[in-house]
Each structure stands twice: as structure tokens, then as C-alpha cells.
């Protein structure tokens, strides 16, 4: 094939890619943070609540987990504003969607983590006279976070990759930037050849960082 590669046009618009990469990371981080709050609250509700709360939490988790993310993105961005009186831009809409999505996955992680905290540690907390709230804050939650750390890292990496779906509602993250350059310069294969290692390198850097964190904090399961 005599296709002439021309990376020059892509480099000329590299600001679109660097901006997109930063936005992707910001989106992933923000949604991860909000997802952790949602997941933690619902996991605690699920553990301590009655049958009705459990059913509601399970309904939320199962609904989100069994519907494609792209459909959820469309539903929140194009669908919701037609039935309730809300106005948001694409970025806010995507942050809302991905946070709810992350929350649904994290509920399960936190639930498993809370269940994995050994009885002995909790009983030790009782023995030194901690109240239930103190036991939760000083014993169960810190132990749980150390147990689920590897699982949290995986969720974060997945979220980082899922931010690419924001491109379908024109959020100018990395994939959108690549599509923009592809459409405007016709240098499609070049631009994808560049963003693939960008995603890989960033993902790998995050993995290395998180592994370091795990080495420091994770509980060795015996």
C-alpha cells in the first residue's frame, strides 16, 4: 500500500490531545472520588439497613451494571432534561453518569471489603470499649480500605479508559480530540497511532503508582 504517513498535521494539533489527556484524567479522578462516596454510603446502608434498603441498593447496582455505559450517557444527557427541569452541559452530565456508574461497581467492592474485615479486629475494638461509630471509623473502614486497595486500583484504571465514551456527547477529552484531528486533517491512522501509546503509557504510569501504594498499605491476605 502506498499510503504516505504524515504525522506533522497531528503534531500541529497536539494541544487538542494534551488538553484531552488532562481532561480524561480529571474526569476519571473526579468520578472516582464521587463514586467512592456513593459506593461507601450505599454499602453501609446495605450492610446496616433493612430489607427495603437492601432491595433498593441492589436494584441500583444491578440496573447500572447491566446497561451499556454509552446508553446511560445518552440517557442522562439527552433523555433526563426532557422529563425533569435540569440544565447541564456535556461535562457535568458525563461526570454525573460516570460517578453513578462507578458508584454501582464500588458498592460491591466496599460490601465485600467490609465483610472481609476479620471478626477478631472488630471484637478487639469492642474489648477496648469503642462505640459502634468509633469501631466503624477507626477499625472497620481503615482495615477495609487496605483490603480492597488492589480492587480500587482496577476500578480507577477502568474509569480512566471509560472516559473515552464521553467523546460521544462532545466532551473534549482525548478520544474526542483524536476524532477531531482525524476529521479535520484526514490523518486518522496517524492520530490513533499516537493516542494508543498515550493511553497505554498513562494507564501504565497509574498502575505503577497504585502498586507502590498497595505495597505500602495493602493487607497481606494469609
Amino acid at each position: 500500500m502506498d499510503y504516505h504517513y504524515n504525522f506533522g498535521l497531528v503534531w500541529r494539533h497536539f494541544d487538542k490531545l494534551s488538553y484531552g489527556m488532562l481532561l480524561s484524567l480529571e474526569l476519571a479522578l473526579l468520578c472516582f472520588g464521587v463514586g467512592i462516596i456513593i459506593g461507601l454510603l450505599l454499602a453501609l446502608l446495605h450492610v446496616s439497613g433493612g430489607r427495603l434498603t437492601r432491595t433498593l441498593v441492589a436494584a441500583y447496582v444491578e440496573t447500572i451494571r447491566n446497561v451499556p455505559l454509552i446508553l446511560l450517557v445518552y440517557l442522562v444527557f439527552y433523555g433526563l432534561p426532557t422529563i425533569i427541569n435540569v440544565h447541564y452541559n456535556a461535562v457535568a452530565s458525563f461526570v454525573l453518569t460516570l460517578s453513578l456508574y462507578a458508584g454501582a461497581y464500588l458498592v460491591e467492592t466496599f460490601r465485600a471489603g467490609l465483610a472481609a474485615v476479620s471478626r477478631g479486629v472488630i471484637e478487639a475494638g469492642m474489648a477496648i470499649g469503642l462505640t459502634p461509630l468509633q469501631r466503624l471509623v477507626y477499625v472497620r473502614l481503615p482495615t477495609m480500605f487496605r483490603i480492597i486497595l488492589p480492587s480500587l486500583s482496577n476500578t480507577f484504571i477502568s474509569l480512566f479508559k471509560d472516559t473515552s465514551i464521553a467523546s460521544v456527547i462532545a466532551v473534549p477529552e482525548l478520544t474526542y480530540g483524536a476524532n477531531w484531528i482525524g476529521t479535520n486533517t484526514f490523518r486518522t491512522i496517524e492520530v490513533y497511532t499516537i493516542i494508543t501509546p498515550m493511553y497505554l503509557a498513562t494507564g501504565y504510569a497509574i498502575v505503577l503508582l497504585l502498586r507502590q501504594l498497595e505495597r505500602t498499605f495493602a493487607v497481606r491476605r494469609t
Binding site: 500500500m1 499510503y3 444491578e62 440496573t63 451494571r65 447491566n66 446497561v67 451499556p68 455505559l69 454509552i70 446508553l71 446511560l72 445518552y74 440517557l75 439527552y78 433523555g79 433526563l80 426532557t82 422529563i83 479508559k161 471509560d162 472516559t163 473515552s164 465514551i165 467523546s167 460521544v168 478520544t175 483524536a178 476524532n179 482525524g182 486518522t188 491512522i189 490513533y192 497511532t193 493516542i195 494508543t196 493511553y199 497505554l200 494507564g203 501504565y204
Partner: protein, 215 residues
């Protein structure tokens, strides 16, 4: 609401495309991923490294980027695939990389003592695989893999971006005609939910059924 009911036959034809593609992806990736998974566990070192590299690279990029790469990028190298084929190839590659990991994880989770015991009674490699390792590994492989099938069904929703008229694209087209998005998105979500919830329930059931295997 009535438009949603009126559009059901059209959505079902989209669903047929979704399911056809999911089936193709699942079957092809099972064959490829199973082979490569065994290669990465038992193959010679260069082969192991190659397969590892393949699976790590593919799993490290967003599936959307892979789909665009195959559809918009490959034509420059002379491989010009129509949208359905391009989407299927991209999803098969992605699913294969995941299946490699499921297979590797399942086989390596079988305790070394099993292999040693089999060797000590004089079983050959093929016999060890057929009678000792694989019958146990398959029970570890099935639950995550069935969950992966649900992921494959969800993954096909992305191919609507290449103009393949799957369920997602069918929903978008009806929305484009009626300007009444909410009933259709909810209906589409309900259809996806029914299929995937069935699959994830099956996965949980299989996992419970085989939970007795300890090492």
C-alpha cells in the same frame, strides 16, 4: 410512549444484530483466547512474551479507541473492512485479550501439587491437561467468562458509532425521528438489562455451584 411501542419491531431487528455480533465475538474469542491462554501458560518463552504483550496492550487501551482504529485506521494499510466486520474484529481482539487472562488465571489457580501428583503417576502432558488440570480449571474459568459474555453484549453498544444498526443505533434512530428520547432510552435499557441480568445471574449460579473447589 406510543411511539416506543410502535418502534418495538424495529428495535428487535436491532437486537438481532446485537445478539448476532455478541455471539460471533464470544465464540471466536473463546477459540482464540483459549488457544493463546494455553500458549501463555505452557508455551515457549518468546511465545509467552508475545501473547502477554498483545493482551496487555489491548487491555490497556479503551475499547472505543480500538474500534475506531480498526474501522478508520486500518484502511490506510490496505485492509478495508465494512462496518459490521470492523466492529466484530475489534471486539473479538478485545475479548480475546480478556479471555487469555481468564484462561491463564484459571489454569494457574490449580495447585502445583495436582500437576506433580499427575506427573508422579506417569501421565503425559496431554493426559495431565485432559484428566487433571482442565476439568478443574474450567470450573474456575466459567463464572468470570460468563460475566464476560454480559460485557460483550454491553460492548456491542459501542459499534452503533460506526453506523452498525444494532439495538443502540436503532434506539438512536427512533429518537432522531420522534424527538421523544426518554421512553426509548428506558425501553432500550430494559432490553439490555433483561439479557445481561440473565447472564450475570447465570454466572453467579455457576460460581455457587462450583464453589466447592478449593486448592
Amino acid at each position: 410512549m406510543s411511539t416506543a411501542i410502535y418502534s418495538i419491531p424495529f428495535l428487535l431487528s436491532g437486537l438481532a444484530v446485537t445478539l448476532t455480533m455478541a455471539l460471533l465475538v464470544v465464540v471466536l474469542s473463546l477459540l482464540l483466547g483459549g488457544t493463546l491462554g494455553m500458549a501463555v501458560t505452557y508455551g515457549p518463552r518468546p511465545l509467552r512474551w508475545t501473547v502477554r504483550l498483545f493482551s496487555d496492550v489491548v487491555r490497556g487501551i479503551p475499547i472505543l479507541v480500538l474500534i475506531f482504529f480498526v474501522f478508520y485506521g486500518l484502511p490506510a494499510t490496505g485492509i478495508n473492512l465494512p462496518n459490521f466486520a470492523a466492529a466484530t474484529v475489534a471486539l473479538v481482539v478485545y475479548k480475546t485479550a480478556q479471555t487469555v487472562e481468564y484462561v491463564r488465571g484459571a489454569v494457574q489457580s490449580i495447585h502445583d501439587g495436582q500437576t506433580e501428583a499427575a506427573k508422579s503417576i506417569g501421565l503425559t502432558f496431554e493426559q495431565r491437561m485432559a484428566y487433571v488440570i482442565l476439568p478443574q480449571a474450567i470450573r474456575r474459568f466459567l463464572p468470570p467468562w460468563i460475566n464476560g459474555v454480559a460485557d460483550a453484549v454491553k460492548g456491542t453498544a459501542l459499534v452503533s458509532l460506526l453506523g452498525v444498526t444494532d439495538l443502540m443505533h436503532a434506539v438512536q434512530q427512533v429518537v432522531g425521528r420522534t424527538y421523544d428520547p426518554m421512553p426509548l432510552y428506558v425501553l432500550g435499557a430494559a432490553i439490555y438489562f433483561t439479557i445481561n441480568y440473565g447472564l450475570s445471574s447465570l454466572s453467579r449460579h455457576v460460581e455457587g455451584r462450583y464453589a466447592y473447589i478449593r486448592d
